[in-house]
Every structure is written in C-alpha cells, then in structure tokens.
C-alpha cells in the first residue's frame, strides 16, 4: 500500500480512529456527553475527509476494497445518518439508561462495517463488513437491558442474522468452488473453468442473495422486521432502517454492475419478484397495524420494494435512482424515528397510534416534523419522497417495465391509507385543550435533539424543493460506477 492508498482510505481510518477514541474515552472516565462529543466530532471528520479522499479516486486498494466516488457518496450518507442517530440518542438514553456510553461505540463499529460494505469488491470484504455491522447491531437493538422487548429484539436479530450469515458464507463457498475466485469482477470471466460451474454458481448466488435479502428485509426474508423495529430503542431502529439497509443496497448496486447481472434474465426475475412481493406484502401488512413503529417497519419493507424497482433499471440511471431514493428515504426515516425519540425523551416511548393524538397541538414542532416525514413517505410534493417516487418511476418506465411501474402506483396509492391515518391522529383533537407543557429546561441533550430533528427536516424539504445540488453529486458517482 502506498501513500495515496491511505489517503483514499482516510474516511475508513478516521471512522476506526473515532471508534478507538470513544472506547478510550470511556475507559478513562464514564461521561455521556464526552462520548457523544467524540462521536460527533469523529463523524464530522469522516465527512470532511471525503473530499480529500475524492482527489485520489477511483482507486483499487488490495483485492478487497475499491474507493470511488460512488463509495464516497455512500460513506457520506452513512456518516450523516449515523450522526443524526447520535444526535437523537443523547437525550433518549439520558432519560433511560445508566450506562449509555457503549451505545455510541457499538454504533460507530456498526457504521464502520457499513462503510466497508459500500467499498467492497471482494466476497471477503463483504463478509467482514457485514459481520462488523451485525455485531454492532446486536448490541444496539438489545441495548435497553431493563426492557424485555428490547432484549427480545436483540436476540431475535442475533439468531436470524447468524442464520443469514451462514447462508451467505455457504453461498460464497459454492461461488468459489465454481469460479475459483472471490474477486467479484472476475467471477463472470472465470466461468466454464470447472465442469458444471454454471450450475453451482447459480446456487451460490442464490444463497448469497438470501443473506443480502435478509439484511435488506426484502420479502420473503422480512419476518424479523416488525418485531425488531418495535422492540428496539427508537435510535437503534433508525439506525437499522437507514445505515444497515443503505450499505447493503449500495453493495448490491455495485455487485450487480461488477457481475453484469442485469444481463442475466434469471437473476433479474428474482429481483423483480422480490421487488413486487416486498411492495405488496409490506403495504398489506402495514394496513393492519396500530403500532406506529410496526407501521414504519412494514412501510420500510414496501420502500425496499420500490428501491428494488429502481434497481431493475440497468445502467447509470438505475444506480442514480436507487441512490437518490436512498438519500430521501434516509432523511424521511430519520425524521420519523427522530420525532419518536424526542417524544420518548419526555418519558414513555410512544408506540400505539393513540399516543400520537393531537401531537400537532401538543408539540407543534415535533408534530410538524413527523407530518413532513409521513408526507414524504406518501410521496407528496415539496418533500424528498416526491422526487424519490418520481425517480423510481422514471427508472422503471425508462426501461419499459410498465407492469412493475403500475404495480408500484397501485401500492403507493394503497399505502396512503395508513400514512394518512397517522396524520389524521396527529392533527386530531383540534378543539381540545391540552395541559400546558412544563417549561422545557435548557439542556445540551435537548438542544442536540432539536438540532438533529431540525436538520433532517430541513434536508427533507430541501430534497423536495431543490434536489439539484444532490443530483450533481449523485449523478457523476453513478456514471463513474457504470461507465
């Protein structure tokens, strides 16, 4: 490895360094604010290091990693999402945990794993990244040891994720047996080297897809989603919905390009099936929920379906559409979970739809942010979700996938029902008097939560009103990935 290699790896190195710094800070003295500060500074430093790394890209570093604009854009998204999660966790954990410091260490570890995934070009780095991500997640999901359901969420995820990893690694083994390489790019070229290679390669890829599909919570690997979202602490829910899924999807985009998978009708049929099934199942199940976190869980399954629709469109447009959708989706879910986390900071974590009654009038700002997030999920103009839907449909129509596009339209209309139902509850009780809120005492945690919520809400509206600056970053990255 040479100097420029290290420059290109700077975001990963800074992230790893931040994790270490956070660990050391805790060993010196347990102080919640200090760990939060270290995490925030570190994640901001990661963002700052991206343009620096951008000067030496694209660059293949060891057979394992490739740092190009696409990877850097995704690392930026992941770091910002992690930052938002840190921002909403401070006040949330301050209210309910005695030892909240390790939460941030786990979060940084998981983010590091996610960042490795988006730069992976080798099955080994896929596995390493995914396990690092998962290990962090187990801890995050079950962090509230006092609450049975949080522990349940953590254990459930642990067992199922371990199973998924087993599928993944067996798949990798078969792919290696058939092609003799783990470098993704070379697999198609090595075909035919062994007798019956094609058959085993197909089986191998199917097993790898099971592992990836689990992480994406795409149907039919979605069973864990609702329980885990419901039981886990709100910031951990936000993290698994955004960082974990986003990294996996970024990886999938890259692998499909490297494998030229879009020219394989059988693989595409699987993706089309997963897209359609995720949309329909996610939306239908969401209709029946009264728990808002579960609604968000099923809606995230449906959203994964929409993203896979964009994914079906080959080429730079598909990659661009997926990435833009992901950006909008990050902002939306962070806003939604952020609002829940802020409400939970006052005491009980709101879950049932009844807990949200009159939120618009009790907490006008939180209510507005949650409303914006729900409108974005519903794809209403002036929010990021509107352009996201536009992008996905554009990608689908652009490659002539009319049936999928019409299925998406039907699903998007259906999904309005449960988003609007929550909106209605938020705005209900217009005439009722609400007990005056106790004056909010000033605290760093409260300020940070407010800033985080304001920031993601602003991003959400910005994406909906003037997405051009984002597109100017995303489009070249997609073009560099798919020349």
């Amino acid at each position: 490895m040479t100097g420029p290699d290290f420059v290109a790896l700077l975001p990963l190195l800074v992230l790893a360094g931040t994790t270490l710094a956070a660990m050391l800070a805790v060993t010196v003295r347990r102080h919640h604010g200090a760990v939060v500060a270290v995490s925030i500074v570190g994640l901001l430093a990661v963002c700052a290091s991206l343009p620096v790394a951008g000067r030496v890209t694209p660059r293949v570093i060891t057979p394992l990693l490739v740092v190009d604009t696409f990877a850097l854009v995704y690392m930026g998204m992941l770091a910002l999402a992690a930052l938002a999660v840190v921002g909403m966790s401070y006040r949330y954990l301050e209210a309910r945990e005695d030892d909240p410091e390790e939460f941030y260490i786990l979060l940084l570890v998981a983010t590091l794993g996610a960042a490795v995934l988006v730069a992976s070009r080798h099955f080994a780095s896929l596995f390493l990244g995914m396990e690092t991500l998962s290990v962090g997640l187990y801890g995050l999901l079950g962090y509230l040891r006092g609450e049975r359901r949080s522990t349940e969420a953590g254990v459930k995820y642990l067992i199922l994720a371990a199973g998924a990893s087993a599928f993944l690694i067996l798949g990798m083994g078969l792919v290696y047996a058939a092609s003799g390489t783990l470098v993704v790019e070379e697999i198609p070229r090595r075909l035919g080297a062994t007798a019956g290679g094609e058959y085993w390669l197909g089986v191998g890829f199917a097993l790898v897809l099971v592992g990836i599909g689990f992480k994406l919570a795409a149907v039919p690997f979605h069973m864990w989603t609702a329980d885990v979202y419901e039981g886990s602490p709100a910031p951990a829910g936000a993290f698994i919905a955004t960082v974990s899924k986003g990294a996996m999807l970024g990886l999938l985009v890259r692998y499909f390009v490297l494998l030229d998978a879009h020219s394989s009708p059988r693989l595409m049929a699987v993706v089309v099936f997963m897209a359609g099934a995720s949309m329909c199942v996610g939306n239908l199940l969401a209709l029946l929920q009264d728990n808002v976190k579960r609604v968000l869980a099923y809606s995230s399954i449906a959203n994964m379906g929409y993203m896979l629709v964009a994914f079906v469109a080959a080429g730079a447009l598909g990659a661009e559409a997926v990435t833009f959708y992901l950006v909008a989706y990050f902002a939306t879910l962070l806003a939604a979970f952020g609002a829940i986390a802020v409400m939970a900071g006052d005491g009980k974590e709101p879950e049932d739809i009844k807990d949200f009654r009159g939120l618009m009038w009790r907490h006008p700002w939180v209510g507005t942010v949650l409303t914006t997030a729900l409108l974005s999920l519903a794809g209403i103009p002036l929010t990021g979700g509107f352009f996201a839907k536009f992008y996905v449909l554009t990608a689908a129509v652009g490659v002539g996938r009319w049936a999928l596009a019409i299925l998406l339209v039907a699903n998007a209309s259906l999904s309005l029902y449960y988003y609007l139902r929550i909106l209605l509850v938020i705005a209900a009780g217009a005439g009722e008097e609400h007990p005056a809120r106790p004056a909010m005492s000033f605290s760093a945690a409260g300020l940070l939560a407010a800033m985080t919520l304001g920031g993601v809400a602003l991003a959400l509206v910005w994406l909906g009103v003037a997405p051009d600056p984002f597109l100017e970053v995303i489009a070249p990255a997609a073009i560099q990935l798919v020349p």
Binding site: P381, V397, V409, A427, G431, D468
Partner: protein, 496 residues
C-alpha cells in the same frame, strides 16, 4: 413575474396567517382576506390588459427559469385567457371561503387558513403551469391541505376521516397514473428527438404510435376524470363534499373539479388529438350519463348538502360532453359552464352552510317553512336553485345551452339524452326549495337571517351570476383566443 407572485402570495400568506393566529384568530382571517383580495386585483388588472389589447402571441404573461436541469424540468408558468378565467375564479371563491368560515371555523383558525391558502396556491399553480412535471407537482400538492381541511374541520368525527382518506386515495391514484403517462410521453419524445423534456409546448405533436397514444391518453384520463368527476369514478365526491366544512365544499366544487376540466382542455386532447377523437363517442356518452345520473340521484337525496354535491356531478357531465365535442361553440360552453358552476354551486354550498349553522341539521325533512323565518336566505336559495336548473338569463343557462348546441352537431342522440338532464335539474332544484323553505313552518324554526358581510357577499355572487347570464360576451371573448389556439394545436397534432 406576475404568475410567480400569484402562486407565492397565497403560499406565504398562508404561513403568515398561521403565525398571526397565535396572537388572535381574527388576524388569520384578515391576512387571508387581504392576500386574496390583492391576488384578485392583480388578476383583474391582467384581465383588463388582455381585453384591451388582445395579444398576438399565445400567452399573455409568461415566466420561465431552470429548476432541475438534470431532468429538463423548468419552472415554466404561462397565462392565457382560459387560465386567466380560472385564476379569477380561484381567488374569488377563495375570498368566499374566507368569508364563509368567519363564523363557522372556530378551532385552530390559523392552521385552517394556512391550509385554505395553500389549496389556492396549488390551484393557481395547476392553472398556469405548462411544464408537465410542474403541473403534476401542483396537482398533487393540492391534495394535502384539502385533506386536512376535510379531516380536521369536517362534520362528523367518524365519517369525515373516511371521506377525507377516500378522497385522497382516489385522487392520488389518479395522480400517479398522470405521472406514468407524463413519463411515458416524455420518454417517447426522447426516443424520436433525443431530448428529454417535460415542456408542454415541445411535447405537443410528439409522434406516437396509435397504440401508445391511446394508452397514454388513458393514463391522463384516469387522473382527470377522477377529479372532474365522471361516472363511475365519482364516488369520492358526495362523501368529501358532505363532510367538508363549507369553505372546503366551496373550494372542492368551485376549484378542484375545475382542475380536472381544465386539464382535459389543456392537456388531454391537444397532446393526444388522434386518440381523443377515437374515444370521444365513449366519453361523450359518459358525460351524458353523468348529467342524467347526477340529476336523478340528487333528486333522491334527503341530505341538503349531498343533494348539492350530486348536482355537481350532473353539471360536470356537461363539461365532459362539451370537451369531447371539441368544436368552437361547445368549448365556449364548457368554459362558461366551468365559471358558472363554480359561482352558483359555490353559492349554494355557502347557503347550505349558513343554514346548517342555524338549524344544525342538513336533513330536509327537518326543515320546511324556513322562508318565513329567514326570507333573505330563502330568496337567495331560490335564486341559486334557479341558476342551477339553467334558467335563461342566469349563468348556467349560457354554458349548458352552448354545450348542447355544440355537441348536437357531433353526436345527436347522446346530446338529446343529456338534454333530458335539464328537466331533471328543474325537478331537483325546485324540490330542494320546496322541501326546505316553503310550506308551513311546522318545526317552528326561529332563525337569524343573513346579515352583514354574509349577506353582502351573497349579493356579490348574485350580481356575478346575473352578469354572466346577461353579458357572457366578456368571458367568451377572454377565452376565445385560447380555445382557438387549443383547437388549432389539436388539429396540427392530428395531421402530423
């Protein structure tokens, strides 16, 4: 520039009204009133300019700047006679909405006016946007504030959420098909010319295969017919109308339905002239069906507001009939009908609203003999009922008459069937007045008559109705160049 101002004025006016209401709800009302009056005056100025010097070009006013260069999407707004009439209607009925809410809306007044003004901002956007993407954006934006108006300030707690959600799902489903159609058209354009654009003027005359053209037209029609609404996709309308607060009903009937009609005129036919010609007989038949169905179902209602809602379906049937007749007379009738229906049905909903405020029921069986208790209310109701049934000398007559003459040349039997609708209209309109205002005051109603600004504004609406009925030439002159232009576009597109 003026066009951007007309959209941004209510947009920011809404935010100011919301914030101002923290002080005193009265401020929200005043801010809204001033905002809308200013907007209406601005439109009036443009109108006078248009009448004095009929411009040579297609647009009276235009503004265009880049928004998303990546997708060839510009903010492109333009005004012609047709849009101008719709804008005038928008702000006029906006003021009506503020006036009628003055006593009716007492909770969350600031948020209400915020939503009301955003509805108007989005509506004016729909009427002046000529970039198809931008048009779609406004089309969708319209839904949310209207949803809140129905869901938060509607009548019965249970039914209003059902009505509001049904309304949004119907119209949003239509909207997404509109997006699909727009994308399909833009990509077809890109395939033949290599340029990805959503500009209306560039997409006109795109070369399409007959099959694709039909499919795309179908996608557009789903969106527009749901909004119009045409039978059989009208079922959201009676619920939404009945549950909405009065200002919501006024704007639904007066504006939202007009966006559907306007879109048919501006987009559906000119963009796909050949396909439109093919399906015209079917759609004219649907129009005639809506006229008859709406009128006969209206007759069967016992709920006053629901009755008025069904008359809307009947009136918009004439619009559908006229649009697909697509000759000069029919189109003039369509425009006239749009304006006339906006004013007369708006007024009718306001009267029903005032009545409901006073007697706390909309059941006609509970009423009767109200004329003696509130003669002004009764007289006004009779006046607008007569306007609604198409009495010569009042506004609706002009519109319906022109539509029928124009359509008869194209499709005789269908038009004759629709004409029967006029008879049915006479029955339901007079029945309405008969059951609620005339006869003995058996329930001993003692109610306050209309006074002050309520009465004054109703007189303005009466004046407008009479003016439109006796001197329709002003409106027809305003719309004529725009309509000729649309007809020309459709002809050229068909030839090329």
């Amino acid at each position: 520039m003026i066009l951007l101002v007309l959209i941004l004025l209510p947009f920011f006016g809404g935010i100011v009204a919301w914030l101002a209401a923290r002080h005193d709800p009265l401020w929200a009302r005043l801010v809204s009133l001033v905002t809308l009056t200013v907007a209406l005056v601005l439109v009036a100025v443009e109108w006078l300019r248009l009448l004095q010097e009929p411009s040579a070009g297609r647009w009276v006013a235009e503004i265009r700047f880049a928004w998303l260069p990546r997708w060839g999407i510009d903010v492109h707004l333009a005004l012609d006679g047709l849009s101008l009439l719709m804008l005038a209607l928008t702000f006029f009925l906006g003021i009506a909405g503020v006036v009628v809410s003055w006593t009716e809306i007492t909770t969350r007044v600031g948020f209400f006016h915020f939503n009301l003004l955003w509805v108007l901002a989005a509506t004016s956007g729909v009427f002046v946007a000529i970039n198809l993407f931008l048009f779609y954006l406004f089309w969708e934006l319209l839904l949310v504030p209207l949803y809140f108006i129905i869901a938060v300030w509607g009548w019965e707690e249970k039914r209003r959420s059902y009505a509001a959600i049904k309304f949004v799902i119907f119209t949003q489903a239509g909207g997404l098909f509109l997006l699909l159609g727009t994308l399909g058209l833009a990509f077809a354009h890109q395939r033949t010319t290599g340029v990805l654009t959503f500009e209306y003027e560039e997409l006109l005359g795109t070369h399409l295969s007959p099959g694709l053209s039909l499919w795309l037209l179908a996608a557009f029609l789903i969106a527009f017919l749901i909004k119009l609404p045409a039978v059989p996709v009208h079922t959201w309308l009676p619920d939404a109308h009945t549950e909405a607060p009065t200002a919501g009903s006024v704007d639904l009937a007066g504006l939202l339905l007009k966006t559907g009609a306007y879109a048919l005129l501006r987009f559906a036919v000119p963009l796909f002239p050949e396909a439109a010609r093919q399906v015209a007989p079917i759609l004219m038949a649907l129009g005639a069906l809506a006229v008859l169905y709406g009128a006969s179902v209206a007759f069967g209602q016992t709920d006053l507001k629901r009755l008025v809602a069904y008359t809307s379906i009947s009136h918009m049937g004439f619009v559908l009939l006229g649009v697909f007749a697509w000759n000069e007379i029919a189109l003039q009738g369509v425009v006239m009908q749009m304006v006339a229906h906006g004013v007369s049905t708006g007024a009718m909903f306001m009267l029903v609203g005032y009545l409901h405020e006073r007697v706390h029921t909309r059941e006609m069986a509970q009423m009767g003999g109200l004329w003696s208790a509130a003669p002004r209310l009764g007289a006004l109701a009779l006046f607008f009922a007569l306007a609604s049934l198409g009495l010569p000398g009042l506004s609706n007559f002009v519109g319906e008459f022109l539509v029928l003459i124009g359509s008869y040349r194209v499709a005789g039997p269908t038009t004759i069937a629709a004409t029967v609708g006029l008879v049915a209209a006479t029955v339901y309109a007079l029945w309405l007045v008969q059951r609620s205002f005339q006869g003995e005051n058996v329930h001993n109603w003692k109610i306050k008559d209309l006074v002050g600004k309520e009465f004054a504004f109703m007189l303005v609406m009466v004046a407008v109705t009479v003016w439109l009925g006796l001197f329709p030439q002003t409106v027809l002159d305003t719309a004529r160049p725009a309509l000729e232009d649309l007809r020309l576009l459709a002809m050229m597109g068909g030839a090329g």
